[in-house]
């Protein structure tokens, strides 16, 4: 394989791995903050128990997030030296701000994890606030950098290819930032809430019906329910922005090969490039134009208006988009059903099919989030910086990219397996202690 393919494979694998831990780094501190706060108010030990269990798991999750994030910071340069030499001065600012967010997060996490016996309960609880805030801020800052890759702004290119008029603030606040950032942030809460609810639903299915499991489920479902509504709204805003700003990505998301007035939505199906159509999809006429422009007869630009080497991989982008929206819908419906039953029956639903659905939403939320990133990243191709720098021009020419990829792939698998094993053993130990 050539260096570009290997670099993309290594980068994509590392990001897809890191993001799972990163979203938990955004969401879990908020849940710990709430649980410990409820304990301080009610003095009910169950809340403290929840916070303590999550903090133990978080100790491992954060460290894996930190080391995989470190890989990414190195890989940006090791794999894409030309991209970084070109972009560093423009989009480095949010990364630098993120550096400080990491500092604050790591410092207060040290206090939180090791300070249970050394700090007073209130001070201990207070240390969770900077963790939750800086976790969210690191996500916001790093996605600003990614948004800049989608909507490069804050600079001009001179006739010799040099940079002119660099404005790092304008680059950080590029046109993609207002759509990408909120959507990513709420997705992090969707994933955390769904995974937590999923864990306690498993316990309840195994008939471990106690206050701890019930409250864990309620906290997780609360976070997931609020966040999934916001994910739908912000995702819709993103899609409308993409319709205008990145027409090739949009056409790939929807499998639109030919420019049409009154474009349909393709639900599912597989885009077949050779036939220039989506095979096996449910077609809903005019809906896409309506969604994208509030006009059932709006024009949607087709892939055939782009030179073949300026088109993203339509199959991947379309299937990823449908996966994200499909799982998002599943999560939304599950949360709606759960809360409707809670509100009308005035007690927690212990209906097994519903609990089973909640178990499924955990992994489904992770897949929705990964799929969303696939839409963003594969949909931007062949550009690493949209319409400015091609991915193929940005990779390193260093030797031994193949072994690097294999080594990191093996490391990530090892880390994932060990993390999972340790978390399961922790759960077992918790049960034995209870």
């Amino acid at each position: 394989m050539d260096n570009v393919t290997l670099a993309r494979a290594t980068m994509g694998t590392s990001l897809a791995f890191h993001i799972v831990f990163a979203v938990l780094g955004v969401g879990l501190p908020l849940l710990m903050l709430v649980a410990e706060g409820l304990w301080l108010r009610t003095q009910d030990e169950v809340w403290l128990n929840l916070a303590r269990r999550w903090s133990k798991a978080f100790g491992i999750l954060f460290a894996v997030g930190a080391v995989s994030g470190t890989s990414l910071s190195f890989e940006l340069g090791l794999l894409w030296p030309r991209f970084m030499a070109f972009s560093g001065a423009i989009f480095g600012l949010p990364f630098s701000a993120e550096g400080f967010a990491f500092f604050i997060e790591a410092i207060f996490l040290g206090l939180y994890l090791y300070g249970w016996d050394r700090l007073t309960p209130v001070v201990h609880w207070l240390t969770s606030i900077p963790i939750a805030v800086s976790g969210a801020l690191s996500a916001v800052f790093v996605v600003m950098a990614n948004a800049w890759m989608n909507s490069p702004s804050g600079f001009r290119l001179g006739s010799d290819g040099g940079l002119l008029d660099v404005d790092p603030l304008a680059a950080a606040l590029n046109p993609s930032t207002p759509t990408e950032d909120p959507h990513m942030l709420v997705s992090a809460y969707v994933v955390t809430g769904s995974l937590v609810a999923s864990v306690y639903a498993i316990g309840l299915l195994r008939r471990r019906d106690d206050p701890l499991h019930r409250r864990g489920l309620v906290l997780g479902m609360s976070m997931a329910a609020v966040a999934i509504v916001l994910a739908g709204i912000t995702g819709d805003t993103s899609a409308r922005f993409i319709y205008q700003a990145q027409p090739a990505k949009f056409a790939s998301m929807e499998g639109i090969y030919h420019t049409v007035r009154g474009a349909p939505v393709h639900l599912g199906g597989i885009p077949v490039d050779s036939e220039q159509r989506v095979v096996g999809a449910i077609e809903i006429p005019n809906l896409l134009s309506l969604l994208a422009a509030f006009d059932p007869n709006a024009v949607v630009r087709g892939l055939d208006t782009f030179p073949p080497n300026d088109r993203p991989n339509t199959v991947l982008v379309h299937l990823s988009f449908d996966t994200m929206v499909g799982f998002g819908t599943l999560i939304g419906l599950t949360a709606a059903l759960f809360w409707l039953l809670v509100i009308f029956r005035r007690r927690l639903p212990m209906w097994r099919p519903l609990l089973f659905l909640i178990v499924v939403t955990g992994p489904a939320s992770v897949m929705a989030m990964e799929a969303g990133w696939f839409v963003t990243e594969f949909g931007r191709q062949p550009w690493i910086v949209y319409e400015v720098l091609r991915t193929s021009e940005a990779a390193t020419n260093a030797p031994a990219l193949g072994p690097t990829f294999l080594i990191f792939f093996a490391i990530y698998i090892g880390l994932a397996v060990t993390t999972a094993r340790l978390l399961l053993l922790q759960a077992k130990r918790n049960r034995a202690a209870a």
Binding site: G88, L109, V166
Partner: protein, 334 residues
Amino acid sequence: MSEAEIVAAILWLALTAYAVLAGADFGGGVWDLLASGPHEAEQRRAVAEAMGPVWEANHVWLIFMIVGLFTGFPAAFGILSMALYLPFTIALVGIVFRGAAFAFRAHGREEVGAASAWGVAFGGASVIAPFFMATGAAAVASGSIRVSGGHLVSGFEAGWATPYGLLVGLFAVAMCAYIAATYLTVETEGTPLEGDFRRRAAVAGLVAGAAAITSLVLAPFAAPSLAHALFGRGLPLLVIALINGPIALVAVWRSRPRVARIAVAAQVIFVLWAWAVGQWPYLVPPDLTIADAAAPNATLTALLVVTGIGSLLLLPSLWFLFRVFKSRNPAAIY
């Protein structure tokens, strides 16, 4: 000083903080690997207790340096990433293993056990990471990385895969072990472990000293640009380091842990700044100066503003962290 020079100095400060703080965490891994004698288990526990609350914060200095480098000096970042692809990738594997292995053991102690394969991974990775980072530093300092017309022309092995690079790597690992053992004598003051770590500190200090003297003697032949830096503008700091080195060793040997801790940390600072001052104004000698590699002024200004605001939040937090966990022994700041 120009804005670019201020940013370069700040990055060098971050490198210093990383060496003094995270260096000790790597050294802790070395002593975990080499734990022996009747107090073997206690030695491992002392390392884990000292590192636990602080290693993630210490680690962020590295991230700060990387993002600061690619924001402030993107051209240098691009060149260094290519020239040092191999040693940095190997160091990265070490960093990943070190962090993960430590966390797996610290937060899953009952589950994985102290002497498991993750323990070996923790110790081994703690050697690999500083070793290969230091070989990269040797490549920079020795002026082996050559740039022409913005392109790397010296290939992927230049400067680090040499006997001199290996010597500098050995020096770095010994130095990490030396700092760690010295700090640990303070952490364990008054316990039977103090003597264990004192002897370890002395041995590591002698190895580090021998490696340092050898590399100084060989520098004019193997790394002319480093020799030029150290015997040129870096000379005053080098002389101070040469005086301070024996003082530190004597303090270690005479059981003056708190003096020793300060003297050993100061030694790291003197060596790093003798190099920095010596090669000023070059970032990657002999072809890239600080000014050549610098980002446009708008970026540097923004970076300085972010750093200023960030430091206002960072420094008090850091002070609080160390106060809470390093005040068991009132004088212990590490």
